[in-house]
Protein backbone atom coordinates (compact mmCIF):
# COMPACT_ATOMS: atom_id res chain seq x y z
CA UNK A 1 0.00 0.00 0.00
CA UNK A 2 3.05 2.24 0.48
CA UNK A 3 3.75 2.43 -3.22
CA UNK A 4 0.06 3.00 -3.94
CA UNK A 5 0.21 6.66 -3.04
CA UNK A 6 3.07 7.27 -5.46
CA UNK A 7 1.04 5.63 -8.21
CA UNK A 8 -2.07 7.60 -7.22
CA UNK A 9 -0.09 10.85 -7.41
CA UNK A 10 1.41 9.92 -10.78
CA UNK A 11 -2.03 9.06 -12.17
CA UNK A 12 -3.48 12.34 -10.87
CA UNK A 13 -0.63 14.44 -12.26
CA UNK A 14 -1.12 12.75 -15.60
CA UNK A 15 -4.90 13.34 -15.54
CA UNK A 16 -4.46 17.04 -14.76
CA UNK A 17 -1.76 17.58 -17.37
CA UNK A 18 -3.99 16.01 -20.01
CA UNK A 19 -6.94 18.04 -18.72
CA UNK A 20 -9.04 14.89 -18.42
CA UNK A 21 -10.58 15.64 -15.04
CA UNK A 22 -11.75 18.77 -13.27
CA UNK A 23 -10.87 17.52 -9.81
CA UNK A 24 -9.69 14.48 -7.90
CA UNK A 25 -11.41 13.40 -4.71
CA UNK A 26 -8.97 11.67 -2.40
CA UNK A 27 -7.61 11.62 1.12
CA UNK A 28 -5.34 14.22 2.72
CA UNK A 29 -3.51 14.06 6.03
CA UNK A 30 -5.51 14.89 9.15
CA UNK A 31 -4.66 17.34 11.88
CA UNK A 32 -4.34 14.64 14.56
CA UNK A 33 -2.62 11.21 14.53
CA UNK A 34 -4.52 8.30 12.94
CA UNK A 35 -6.82 10.57 10.93
CA UNK A 36 -7.29 11.57 7.33
CA UNK A 37 -9.75 13.92 5.72
CA UNK A 38 -11.38 13.93 2.31
CA UNK A 39 -9.96 16.47 -0.11
CA UNK A 40 -10.89 17.70 -3.58
CA UNK A 41 -7.71 18.42 -5.50
CA UNK A 42 -8.24 20.77 -8.43
CA UNK A 43 -4.74 21.41 -9.73
CA UNK A 44 -1.50 19.57 -10.41
CA UNK A 45 0.23 21.67 -7.73
CA UNK A 46 -1.99 20.26 -5.00
CA UNK A 47 -1.51 16.58 -5.91
CA UNK A 48 1.25 16.38 -3.27
CA UNK A 49 -1.42 16.85 -0.59
CA UNK A 50 -2.87 13.40 -1.30
CA UNK A 51 -2.16 10.56 1.11
CA UNK A 52 -3.23 6.94 1.30
CA UNK A 53 -2.71 4.88 4.43
CA UNK A 54 -4.58 2.54 6.78
CA UNK A 55 -6.67 5.39 8.22
CA UNK A 56 -8.58 6.25 5.07
CA UNK A 57 -11.72 4.72 6.53
CA UNK A 58 -14.31 7.10 5.17
CA UNK A 59 -16.11 6.40 1.92
CA UNK A 60 -15.29 8.86 -0.85
CA UNK A 61 -18.34 7.85 -2.91
CA UNK A 62 -20.17 10.05 -0.41
CA UNK A 63 -18.61 13.10 -2.08
CA UNK A 64 -19.72 12.12 -5.56
CA UNK A 65 -23.36 13.09 -5.83
CA UNK A 66 -25.69 14.47 -8.45
CA UNK A 67 -25.31 17.98 -7.10
CA UNK A 68 -21.55 18.23 -6.95
CA UNK A 69 -20.75 16.82 -10.37
CA UNK A 70 -19.55 19.45 -12.86
CA UNK A 71 -22.60 20.78 -14.71
CA UNK A 72 -20.74 20.95 -18.04
CA UNK A 73 -20.29 17.19 -18.11
CA UNK A 74 -16.61 17.33 -17.12
CA UNK A 75 -15.16 14.34 -15.31
CA UNK A 76 -14.08 14.00 -11.72
CA UNK A 77 -11.69 11.34 -10.50
CA UNK A 78 -12.11 9.43 -7.26
CA UNK A 79 -9.56 7.45 -5.30
CA UNK A 80 -11.54 4.30 -4.57
CA UNK A 81 -10.91 1.29 -2.36
CA UNK A 82 -12.99 -1.82 -3.09
CA UNK A 83 -15.92 -0.54 -1.05
CA UNK A 84 -15.76 3.04 -2.38
CA UNK A 85 -15.85 1.68 -5.93
CA UNK A 86 -18.83 -0.54 -5.06
CA UNK A 87 -20.65 2.50 -3.71
CA UNK A 88 -19.83 4.41 -6.90
CA UNK A 89 -21.37 1.52 -8.85
CA UNK A 90 -24.44 1.74 -6.57
CA UNK A 91 -24.67 5.48 -7.36
CA UNK A 92 -24.58 4.63 -11.08
CA UNK A 93 -27.11 1.80 -10.79
CA UNK A 94 -29.42 4.17 -8.91
CA UNK A 95 -29.01 6.80 -11.68
CA UNK A 96 -27.36 9.32 -9.40
CA UNK A 97 -24.18 9.81 -11.39
CA UNK A 98 -23.36 8.85 -14.99
CA UNK A 99 -20.51 6.38 -15.49
CA UNK A 100 -18.81 8.64 -18.04
CA UNK A 101 -18.44 11.51 -15.57
CA UNK A 102 -16.52 9.52 -12.99
CA UNK A 103 -12.95 8.37 -13.40
CA UNK A 104 -12.29 5.63 -10.87
CA UNK A 105 -8.73 5.34 -9.59
CA UNK A 106 -8.95 1.87 -8.08
CA UNK A 107 -6.86 1.07 -5.02
CA UNK A 108 -6.24 -2.55 -4.05
CA UNK A 109 -6.97 -2.44 -0.33
CA UNK A 110 -5.65 -4.64 2.45
CA UNK A 111 -7.96 -3.18 5.03
CA UNK A 112 -8.19 -0.17 7.26
CA UNK A 113 -7.04 0.07 10.88
CA UNK A 114 -9.49 0.60 13.69
CA UNK A 115 -8.22 3.66 15.54
CA UNK A 116 -10.32 2.83 18.58
CA UNK A 117 -8.66 -0.57 18.92
CA UNK A 118 -5.25 1.13 18.79
CA UNK A 119 -6.31 3.80 21.30
CA UNK A 120 -7.48 1.05 23.70
CA UNK A 121 -3.89 -0.09 24.11
CA UNK A 122 -2.89 3.31 25.45
CA UNK A 123 -3.72 4.94 28.73
CA UNK A 124 -3.05 8.45 27.52
CA UNK A 125 -3.46 10.38 24.31
CA UNK A 126 -1.65 9.17 21.22
CA UNK A 127 0.64 11.88 19.91
CA UNK A 128 2.12 10.23 16.87
CA UNK A 129 1.45 7.30 14.57
CA UNK A 130 3.58 6.33 11.62
CA UNK A 131 2.86 3.49 9.23
CA UNK A 132 5.56 1.37 7.70
CA UNK A 133 4.01 -1.24 5.45
CA UNK A 134 1.88 -3.45 7.66
CA UNK A 135 3.05 -2.13 11.01
CA UNK A 136 2.43 1.04 12.94
CA UNK A 137 4.69 2.78 15.41
CA UNK A 138 2.36 4.50 17.83
CA UNK A 139 3.65 6.95 20.40
CA UNK A 140 2.09 8.63 23.41
CA UNK A 141 3.67 10.58 26.26
CA UNK A 142 3.92 7.39 28.37
CA UNK A 143 4.61 4.59 25.93
CA UNK A 144 5.56 3.55 22.43
CA UNK A 145 4.27 0.43 20.71
CA UNK A 146 4.81 -1.29 17.42
CA UNK A 147 1.49 -2.74 16.30
CA UNK A 148 0.81 -5.06 13.38
CA UNK A 149 -2.03 -3.91 11.16
CA UNK A 150 -3.64 -7.34 11.12
CA UNK A 151 -4.14 -7.12 14.89
CA UNK A 152 -6.07 -3.86 14.72
CA UNK A 153 -7.98 -4.29 11.47
CA UNK A 154 -11.50 -2.89 11.42
CA UNK A 155 -14.21 -5.53 11.78
CA UNK A 156 -15.71 -4.88 8.34
CA UNK A 157 -12.24 -5.15 6.76
CA UNK A 158 -11.63 -8.49 8.49
CA UNK A 159 -14.73 -9.87 6.78
CA UNK A 160 -14.23 -8.05 3.47
CA UNK A 161 -14.37 -10.25 0.38
CA UNK A 162 -14.01 -7.46 -2.20
CA UNK A 163 -10.77 -5.67 -1.52
CA UNK A 164 -10.23 -4.86 -5.19
CA UNK A 165 -12.60 -2.46 -6.95
CA UNK A 166 -14.96 -4.44 -9.23
CA UNK A 167 -15.18 -1.47 -11.63
CA UNK A 168 -12.35 0.99 -12.30
CA UNK A 169 -10.68 3.07 -15.00
CA UNK A 170 -7.15 2.58 -13.75
CA UNK A 171 -5.65 0.58 -10.89
CA UNK A 172 -3.02 2.12 -8.61
CA UNK A 173 -1.30 -1.17 -7.95
CA UNK A 174 -1.52 -4.92 -8.48
CA UNK A 175 -4.82 -6.45 -7.31
CA UNK A 176 -4.54 -8.07 -3.88
CA UNK A 177 -5.69 -11.58 -3.11
CA UNK A 178 -9.37 -11.75 -2.10
CA UNK A 179 -10.31 -13.49 1.14
CA UNK A 180 -12.50 -16.56 1.00
CA UNK A 181 -14.50 -16.92 4.19
CA UNK A 182 -16.26 -20.01 5.49
CA UNK A 183 -18.41 -17.90 7.73
CA UNK A 184 -18.86 -14.41 6.34
CA UNK A 185 -21.34 -13.30 9.03
CA UNK A 186 -20.32 -14.75 12.42
CA UNK A 187 -21.48 -11.60 14.24
CA UNK A 188 -24.98 -11.83 12.73
CA UNK A 189 -25.12 -15.55 13.52
CA UNK A 190 -24.08 -14.81 17.08
CA UNK A 191 -26.94 -12.35 17.60
CA UNK A 192 -29.37 -14.70 15.85
CA UNK A 193 -28.46 -17.46 18.32
CA UNK A 194 -29.76 -15.39 21.25
CA UNK A 195 -33.38 -15.54 22.37
CA UNK A 196 -35.64 -12.63 21.29
CA UNK A 197 -35.48 -10.77 24.62
CA UNK A 198 -31.67 -10.93 24.72
CA UNK A 199 -31.56 -9.71 21.13
CA UNK A 200 -33.78 -6.76 22.01
CA UNK A 201 -31.57 -6.00 25.01
CA UNK A 202 -28.45 -6.29 22.84
CA UNK A 203 -29.70 -3.60 20.47
CA UNK A 204 -30.96 -1.43 23.35
CA UNK A 205 -27.53 -1.63 24.97
CA UNK A 206 -25.84 -0.98 21.62
CA UNK A 207 -27.73 2.24 20.90
CA UNK A 208 -28.16 3.57 24.43
CA UNK A 209 -25.34 6.12 24.01
CA UNK A 210 -26.62 7.40 20.67
CA UNK A 211 -26.75 11.21 20.68
CA UNK A 212 -28.70 11.42 17.41
CA UNK A 213 -25.94 13.41 15.72
CA UNK A 214 -26.60 11.54 12.44
CA UNK A 215 -22.88 11.22 11.72
CA UNK A 216 -23.56 7.62 10.59
CA UNK A 217 -26.10 8.88 8.08
CA UNK A 218 -23.93 11.75 6.87
CA UNK A 219 -20.89 9.52 6.36
CA UNK A 220 -22.94 7.00 4.39
CA UNK A 221 -22.81 7.32 0.59
CA UNK A 222 -26.25 5.69 0.37
CA UNK A 223 -27.89 8.56 2.27
CA UNK A 224 -28.25 11.15 -0.46
CA UNK A 225 -31.94 12.02 -0.04
CA UNK A 226 -32.43 15.83 -0.16
CA UNK A 227 -34.44 15.57 3.05
CA UNK A 228 -33.89 12.59 5.32
CA UNK A 229 -36.93 11.04 7.01
CA UNK A 230 -35.56 12.07 10.40
CA UNK A 231 -35.45 15.72 9.34
CA UNK A 232 -39.01 15.81 7.99
CA UNK A 233 -41.36 17.79 10.17
CA UNK A 234 -44.56 17.38 8.19
CA UNK A 235 -45.25 14.59 8.83
CA UNK A 236 -42.73 13.97 11.57
CA UNK A 237 -41.95 10.29 11.12
CA UNK A 238 -39.83 9.91 14.23
CA UNK A 239 -39.30 11.91 17.44
CA UNK A 240 -36.14 13.97 17.53
CA UNK A 241 -35.04 13.43 21.12
CA UNK A 242 -33.10 10.70 22.86
CA UNK A 243 -36.13 8.66 23.81
CA UNK A 244 -35.08 5.02 23.44
CA UNK A 245 -38.01 4.26 21.14
CA UNK A 246 -37.06 7.11 18.82
CA UNK A 247 -33.42 6.03 18.84
CA UNK A 248 -34.37 2.43 17.98
CA UNK A 249 -36.76 3.62 15.27
CA UNK A 250 -34.07 5.82 13.75
CA UNK A 251 -31.48 3.04 13.66
CA UNK A 252 -33.93 0.45 12.38
CA UNK A 253 -35.18 2.67 9.55
CA UNK A 254 -31.77 4.07 8.65
CA UNK A 255 -30.55 0.50 8.30
CA UNK A 256 -33.55 -0.63 6.30
CA UNK A 257 -33.08 2.23 3.83
CA UNK A 258 -29.73 0.58 3.09
CA UNK A 259 -31.24 -2.87 2.43
CA UNK A 260 -29.66 -4.45 -0.62
CA UNK A 261 -27.49 -1.35 -1.08
CA UNK A 262 -24.98 -1.48 1.78
CA UNK A 263 -21.42 -2.46 0.87
CA UNK A 264 -20.35 -2.75 4.53
CA UNK A 265 -17.71 -0.05 4.00
CA UNK A 266 -17.77 0.81 7.70
CA UNK A 267 -17.93 4.59 7.21
CA UNK A 268 -20.91 4.78 9.60
CA UNK A 269 -18.96 3.16 12.42
CA UNK A 270 -15.85 5.17 11.56
CA UNK A 271 -17.83 8.40 11.87
CA UNK A 272 -19.74 7.55 15.06
CA UNK A 273 -18.42 9.73 17.90
CA UNK A 274 -19.88 7.33 20.49
CA UNK A 275 -18.28 4.20 19.05
CA UNK A 276 -21.58 2.46 18.33
CA UNK A 277 -21.31 -0.50 15.99
CA UNK A 278 -24.34 0.45 13.87
CA UNK A 279 -23.28 -2.25 11.42
CA UNK A 280 -25.06 -4.75 13.67
CA UNK A 281 -28.23 -3.56 11.93
CA UNK A 282 -27.01 -3.37 8.34
CA UNK A 283 -25.05 -6.64 8.49
CA UNK A 284 -28.27 -8.60 9.01
CA UNK A 285 -29.70 -7.03 5.84
CA UNK A 286 -26.50 -7.78 3.92
CA UNK A 287 -26.68 -11.40 5.03
CA UNK A 288 -30.32 -11.67 3.97
CA UNK A 289 -29.61 -10.00 0.61
CA UNK A 290 -26.93 -12.63 0.00
CA UNK A 291 -28.93 -15.60 1.34
CA UNK A 292 -32.28 -14.71 -0.26
CA UNK A 293 -31.19 -13.05 -3.49
CA UNK A 294 -27.53 -14.01 -3.95
CA UNK A 295 -26.88 -10.28 -4.01
CA UNK A 296 -23.92 -8.18 -3.01
CA UNK A 297 -24.29 -4.47 -3.68
CA UNK A 298 -22.17 -2.56 -6.15
CA UNK A 299 -20.61 -5.47 -8.01
CA UNK A 300 -22.21 -5.04 -11.41
CA UNK A 301 -23.34 -2.01 -13.42
CA UNK A 302 -25.85 -4.06 -15.41
CA UNK A 303 -27.73 -5.93 -12.69
CA UNK A 304 -30.69 -4.32 -10.93
CA UNK A 305 -30.80 -4.48 -7.11
CA UNK A 306 -33.15 -7.14 -5.68
CA UNK A 307 -35.53 -4.67 -4.03
CA UNK A 308 -35.74 -2.75 -7.29
CA UNK A 309 -37.12 -5.52 -9.49
CA UNK A 310 -39.79 -8.18 -9.33
CA UNK A 311 -39.05 -11.76 -10.11
CA UNK A 312 -41.50 -14.68 -9.88
CA UNK A 313 -38.79 -16.50 -7.92
CA UNK A 314 -38.69 -13.88 -5.17
CA UNK A 315 -39.20 -15.41 -1.72
CA UNK A 316 -42.81 -14.76 -0.71
CA UNK A 317 -43.49 -17.11 2.20
CA UNK A 318 -43.87 -14.11 4.54
CA UNK A 319 -46.97 -12.86 2.67
CA UNK A 320 -50.05 -14.38 4.22
Amino acid sequence: MDTCIEKIKAICTDLFSKGEVEKVIGFAGGSIPMATRPIAVTSEADVEKLVFNAFCGLNLANYVTKNNLPKDGAKIAVVAKGCDARNLVTHMVENQVPRDQVYIIGVPCTGMADKRRIAQRFEDEITQCTQDGDTFTVTSALQQEVIAKKDVLRHNCQYCTHRNPPVYDVMAGEPVEEQILDQPFPDVDHIASMDPETRWDHFAELTKNCIRCYACRNACPLCYCPTCFVDESSPQWVGKGQDETDITTFHFLRAFHCAGRCTDCGACVEACPMGINVRDFTRKLNKDALDLFGWEAGMDLDRRPPLDVYSPDDPDDFIK
Binding site: W200, F203, D246, F252, K320
Partner: protein, 55 residues
Protein backbone atom coordinates in the same frame (compact mmCIF):
# COMPACT_ATOMS: atom_id res chain seq x y z
CA UNK B 1 -36.04 -8.45 4.77
CA UNK B 2 -37.77 -5.85 6.94
CA UNK B 3 -39.55 -8.58 8.88
CA UNK B 4 -36.29 -10.49 9.25
CA UNK B 5 -34.50 -7.43 10.60
CA UNK B 6 -37.28 -6.71 13.10
CA UNK B 7 -37.19 -10.33 14.21
CA UNK B 8 -33.40 -10.08 14.46
CA UNK B 9 -33.85 -7.05 16.70
CA UNK B 10 -36.04 -9.11 19.03
CA UNK B 11 -39.54 -8.23 17.85
CA UNK B 12 -41.97 -11.17 18.03
CA UNK B 13 -42.66 -12.40 14.50
CA UNK B 14 -46.28 -13.05 15.47
CA UNK B 15 -46.78 -9.31 15.78
CA UNK B 16 -45.79 -8.76 12.18
CA UNK B 17 -48.03 -9.47 9.26
CA UNK B 18 -47.54 -8.97 5.54
CA UNK B 19 -50.48 -9.35 3.17
CA UNK B 20 -51.18 -8.54 -0.43
CA UNK B 21 -54.60 -6.88 -0.57
CA UNK B 22 -56.02 -5.18 -3.63
CA UNK B 23 -57.92 -1.90 -3.22
CA UNK B 24 -60.95 -3.84 -4.48
CA UNK B 25 -60.69 -6.45 -1.72
CA UNK B 26 -62.38 -4.60 1.12
CA UNK B 27 -63.69 -7.73 2.78
CA UNK B 28 -60.29 -9.39 2.71
CA UNK B 29 -58.81 -6.25 4.32
CA UNK B 30 -61.39 -6.35 7.13
CA UNK B 31 -60.82 -10.07 7.68
CA UNK B 32 -57.05 -9.66 7.83
CA UNK B 33 -57.24 -6.70 10.23
CA UNK B 34 -59.61 -8.63 12.51
CA UNK B 35 -57.41 -11.69 12.47
CA UNK B 36 -54.24 -9.71 13.28
CA UNK B 37 -55.96 -7.65 15.99
CA UNK B 38 -57.15 -10.82 17.71
CA UNK B 39 -53.75 -12.46 17.40
CA UNK B 40 -51.85 -9.45 18.77
CA UNK B 41 -54.38 -8.85 21.53
CA UNK B 42 -53.85 -12.43 22.67
CA UNK B 43 -50.08 -11.79 22.86
CA UNK B 44 -50.65 -8.90 25.29
CA UNK B 45 -48.97 -5.52 25.48
CA UNK B 46 -45.38 -4.94 24.49
CA UNK B 47 -42.93 -2.21 25.38
CA UNK B 48 -40.95 -2.67 22.20
CA UNK B 49 -41.30 0.26 19.80
CA UNK B 50 -43.90 1.69 22.21
CA UNK B 51 -43.16 5.17 23.44
CA UNK B 52 -43.71 5.85 27.12
CA UNK B 53 -45.38 9.26 27.22
CA UNK B 54 -45.61 9.24 31.01
CA UNK B 55 -41.86 9.83 31.29
Amino acid sequence: MMGNLLEHMGVDRNRLHFSWISSAEATKFVDVVKEISDKVRALGTTKKFAKDYTK
